[in-house]
C-alpha cells in the first residue's frame, strides 16, 4: 500500500529540549538504538531562549545561562553521536503491543514510521492562556504569553511592547519582568492572584526588588481594554477564595500584557492513547522509572510535571532512559508489587505515583500552601527532615534509598508536619 520510510529503534525520544536531549544521550550511552525528534528547526527547547543565569547549579554545580546550559548537552550529543531529526512533527503514536510502538513523524522528506520498543515523551509544557485564567474584555493585539515574548526578544530581537503588565509571579513571570526592564520597557506591575509569590525567592529579589517592579499579591487582572492595541487592564483585589472584592478595582495603563499564569504539561499525544493522567500535576501517572500507565512509554521533564529547574528535567530524562534500558532487557519493568505514593498533609502533588520499593527513588513534591518550620516525613520508612520553610514555588526533593524503602509494606506517604504537631 504505502512506501513510507520505516525504521526500527529501541528508543524514540519525542521532544528535543533538555529532558529529551538528556534522555537521548543517556539511552545512546547505554547502548540502545535511539533517535531524538524535535519539531522546531533547532534542538534545545526553552533554555535556548533563556539568556538569564540560574541553570546548572544542581547538575553542573555551576551557574550557567540557559543557552550555556543547553550547549553543554549539545557538546555531549556530538561526542557520543546521538541520532536526531529537527523539523520533525509527531503526527501520532500507535501502541501495537507491549514491545512495539509506532511513532508517525511528518518531516520535509516525507512521513516516517518509527517502530520502537520504548518511547520517551519529553515535549515539555504549554502556557496557560488569557482565556484559561478567565480574563474578559477586549481581545486587542499586545497580549503575549511569557514564552512567546521571550522567543520574540531573545531569539528574534523584537521588543513586544513598552508598558508592560505581567500576570503571574511564577519564575517565568519574574524573569520576564526583569527581561523587559533590562530592555528599557516599563514594567508597571506583576499581578499575582495568590497571597504569596509563585516563583523562587531568589527571583523575587533579583528580578523585581532590584528593579523596583511592584508585585501585587492577592490581585487579579479581570479585564483588558483596547481597540487596536492593549490600552489598559483592570485589576482587582481578591479574597481567600480568589473572588474579586467589589470596590477594589483600579486600572493600569499599558500597551502589553504578558501572561505568565503557569504551565500545563503538553500531553495531547498521550491523551489520545488514553493514558492515566494525574489531575494534580496535569501530567501522566508514572512509576519510579517514569514509565506511564502504558508499558514502555516513559515521560520526563515538564511533560511529566512542571519543574522548578532545568536540572531536574535533565535528571528525569536520564532516569527515563535508564527505565527504557531496564524495560527492554526484562521485557517490562520488573517489580513484585507496585505501591502507591500517597499525598499526606499539605502535599499538593508528588512524583512518582507508584514505586516498587526495589530501587532507590527520588521523590519530587510540592506543598499546597507555604509553611514555616516543618518536618517533611515519610512515616512508613521513617524518613524525616526539617525545613525552615516550605513553599509551593519550590519543589521538595526526597531521596529514598532502596534499603529504607524495603520497610514500606503497602504504600508510602509524603506529608508535611509543623514542628508542634
Amino acid at each position: 500500500m504505502s512506501n513510507l520510510i520505516e525504521e526500527r529503534y529501541d528508543v524514540v525520544v519525542i521532544g528535543g529540549g533538555p529532558a529529551g536531549i538528556a534522555a537521548a544521550i543517556r539511552a545512546t550511552e547505554l547502548g540502545l538504538k535511539t533517535i531524538l525528534l524535535e519539531n522546531r528547526d533547532v534542538l534545545g527547547g526553552i533554555p535556548l531562549q533563556c539568556v538569564h543565569p540560574g541553570f546548572g547549579l544542581h547538575y553542573f554545580k555551576e551557574d550557567l545561562t540557559g543557552t550555556q546550559f543547553i550547549h553543554r548537552f549539545f557538546e555531549r550529543m556530538e561526542r557520543i553521536g546521538v541520532e536526531y531529526i529537527t523539523s520533525a512533527h509527531v503526527h501520532s503514536i500507535e501502541y501495537r503491543d507491549y514491545m512495539e510502538k509506532v511513532v508517525n513523524v511528518i518531516t520535509r522528506k516525507g512521513v516516517l514510521r518509527l517502530y520502537s520498543k520504548t518511547i520517551i515523551y519529553t515535549v515539555g509544557a504549554r502556557e496557560r492562556t488569557l482565556f484559561e485564567i478567565g480574563v474578559v474584555g477586549d481581545r486587542p493585539d499586545g497580549i503575549y504569553t511569557a514564552g512567546e515574548a521571550q522567543t520574540m526578544m531573545d531569539i528574534y530581537g523584537v521588543l513586544p511592547g513598552k508598558d508592560v503588565v505581567i500576570i503571574g509571579s511564577g519564575d517565568v513571570g519574574l524573569i520576564m519582568a526583569r527581561r523587559f526592564a533590562l530592555e528599557g520597557a516599563r514594567v508597571k506591575a506583576v499581578i499575582e492572584i495568590m497571597p504569596y509569590p509563585g516563583g523562587l525567592m531568589r527571583n523575587v529579589v533579583q528580578c523585581l526588588r532590584d528593579f523596583n517592579i511592584p508585585l501585587l499579591l492577592s490581585h487579579a487582572v479581570i479585564s483588558i481594554a483596547g481597540k487596536k492595541r492593549v490600552e489598559k487592564v483592570t485589576v482587582v483585589k481578591v479574597d481567600e477564595g480568589f473572588r474579586p472584592i467589589p470596590g477594589t478595582e483600579f486600572e493600569i495603563a499599558c500597551d502589553t500584557v504578558v501572561i505568565a499564569a503557569g504551565l500545563r504539561p503538553n500531553i495531547d499525544l498521550l491523551e489520545r492513547l488514553s493514558i492515566a493522567i494525574d489531575p494534580a500535576t496535569g501530567g501522566p501517572m508514572v512509576n519510579e522509572l517514569l514509565e506511564t500507565s502504558i508499558p514502555g512509554i516513559f515521560v520526563a521533564g515538564n511533560a511529566l510535571v512542571i519543574n522548578d529547574l532545568a536540572d531536574y528535567v535533565v535528571e528525569q530524562g536520564e532516569k527515563a532512559a535508564e527505565g527504557a534500558k531496564i524495560f527492554i532487557e526484562n521485557s517490562g519493568i520488573p517489580a513484585e508489587e507496585w505501591k502507591p505514593v500517597k499525598r499526606g498533609r499539605n502535599i499538593r502533588l508528588a512524583i512518582p505515583h507508584y514505586i516498587s520499593g526495589e530501587r532507590s527513588v527520588t521523590i519530587l513534591a510540592r506543598v499546597a500552601k507555604p509553611e514555616q518550620r516543618v518536618f517533611v516525613e515519610v512515616p512508613e520508612v521513617g524518613y524525616k527532615t526539617f525545613h525552615m520553610a516550605v513553599r509551593p514555588a519550590e519543589m521538595i526533593r526526597l531521596d529514598l534509598s532502596k534499603d529504607a524503602l524495603s520497610k514500606a509494606e503497602k504504600s508510602v506517604t509524603i506529608e508535611v508536619k509543623p514542628i508542634a504537631y
Partner: protein
Amino acid sequence: MHRYRVAIVGAGIIGASIARILSMYENIDVSLIEKEPDVGWGVSKANTAIIHPGHEEDPKSYPLRARLCREGNELWREWVRELDIPAKWPGELMVFTSVEEEKAAEKYIEFAKVNKVPGVRVVYREELRALEPTVNPDALGAVYAPTAGMISPMEAVIAIVENAVENGVKLFTETEVFNVRVSANRVIGVDTNRGFIEADIVINAAGLYADKISNVVSVDTWFFIKPRRGEYLLFDEDVDIKPTRILHTVPTLVTKGVYVVTTVHGNLMIGPTAEDLPVDAKEATSTTREGLEYLWREAGKILKVLPLRSRVIRTFAGLRPEPPNGQWLIKAYDSPWGFVNVAGTRSPGLTAAPAIALHVLEQMKSVFDLRLVKKEKWNPFRKDIVRVRNRSIEEIDRLVETNPDYGEILCYCRMVSKAEVIEAIKRMKAIGVKTITVDGIKFRTYAGMGKCQGSFCRWRVALLVSKYTGVPLESVVVKRSSYGVGDVKLLLRVRTAKGQG
C-alpha cells in the same frame, strides 16, 4: 479613473454574496469595498455559524426573513460544494425542559408548516436521547429540524470573495466609505479614505454601519441599527462532550436561545448571549463575566454534563446588526437612483445570504434597468487550501512529495504546515489584501486556533509574513497592531547614544 457599474460597501457575508451573484454578468463590473484589512471581519466573524432551517421565523411578522431563510438554507448546500467551504448538516434540536417551554416550542411546528420547512417535528425523551446522547436526561423533548447545518462563516466569506475576484470583482481593503455621492438625484460613487470610487449603483451592505451609510443619502431616515452583543465560549477540540446535533434552548421574547454546538472544526461552542447595546457601540465586542456565566447556566439546562471550565480555549463576542422591529431593510431606490440598502440583516442573515443576494438582484432589476448579460465563462468553483490536518499519514506523505513545505508543521495544536501558511499569504495577495495579517492567516489556515492560542506558532507565522512581504518582523500586523514595537538591539543602541550625548 475606472467607473464601476456597482460598488458594494462591506465585504462581509452579505456584500460578498452579492458580489458573487453580480459577477455572473458581463456588463456589471463590481467593486467590493471593505474598511478592514481583510474580508469578513465584522458581523460575519463572530456568530453561531448555523444554517437555520427556517422554522423559527414568524411568517406573519417576518415573511421576507422566513422565505429567504429557507431559500438560503437550500442555496448553501450548493454553494458549500461549489466553493469548498467547511460545512455539515447535522440537524438541530430545540430542547424543552418544562411544559411551558414545550408549549412555546409548539408554535415552531406551525411556522415550519407555513414556511415549508421539511421534516420538522417534536421528538420526545427516548428519541431525543437516541438522536443526541449528550442531552440533559431531564429534558422533556425537542423540536427536531433536520435541515439545519453549520458552516465556517469566515471561511465562507473568504471563499466567496476568492471566487468573486476570480470572476472579475475588484476588492478594495482598508478603504472606508464615508460618503455616497449623489448628483442630480443619482448615485455617482462613494468617497473613501483612499479617494473617490465612481459607480452607478451603490449597494450598502455595511453591516453594523449600514445605518450610517443609509443616512448619508437620506433614505428611510427612521432606520437605525442597534448592535446586539453575543458572547461565546469555545472549547478545546479534545473535550469529550461534543454533541453531534445542534442543540439550543427554546427562544424567548428576549433571546433566540443559547446554542450548544460542535463547530465544523470540531470544537464545542456555547453561545450566544443577547445584549442590546446603544446605536453607537458598533465595536463593543468585549466579553463580560456575567455574560459568560449566563452561558454556563443555560448550557447546563440542555447538556447532561458540562465540560471542565479549564477546557475553554477562547471566549469572544460578536455583534449582530439589530434593526428596528427586527425588520430587514432590503430595497433598491429610485430616489436617489442607484442606491440599494441591504441593511439590518440580523439573524438569519448568514443563512439567507445567498438568497438575499438573489433577492437584491431582483430588486435591482425591477428598479434599475440593468439589461443583464450573462458571462460566457463564469467559474462557479473555488478550491479550499489543501491541508495536512485530518489526512492519513499516507496522504500526508504524498503531499510532502509534491511540496516539502507540507512536511514542516508550524502550528502543533491544529497541525498546520508551512505550505498552508504560504498558500494563505498568496491567496490574500491574490484577492487584493494589502496588509497580510497574522489573524487573516489564522482564519484561512487555523494556525493559532488550538489550545495554545498561538503562543507556539504566532512568531513562526509572523516570520513567514515578514519573509513573503518584506515587512520587518516587529512590524508584521497581528490583527490591527504590530507584533512588536521594535528591534531590541536598535532600541538599545538609540538609548545608549542618547545616554552618552
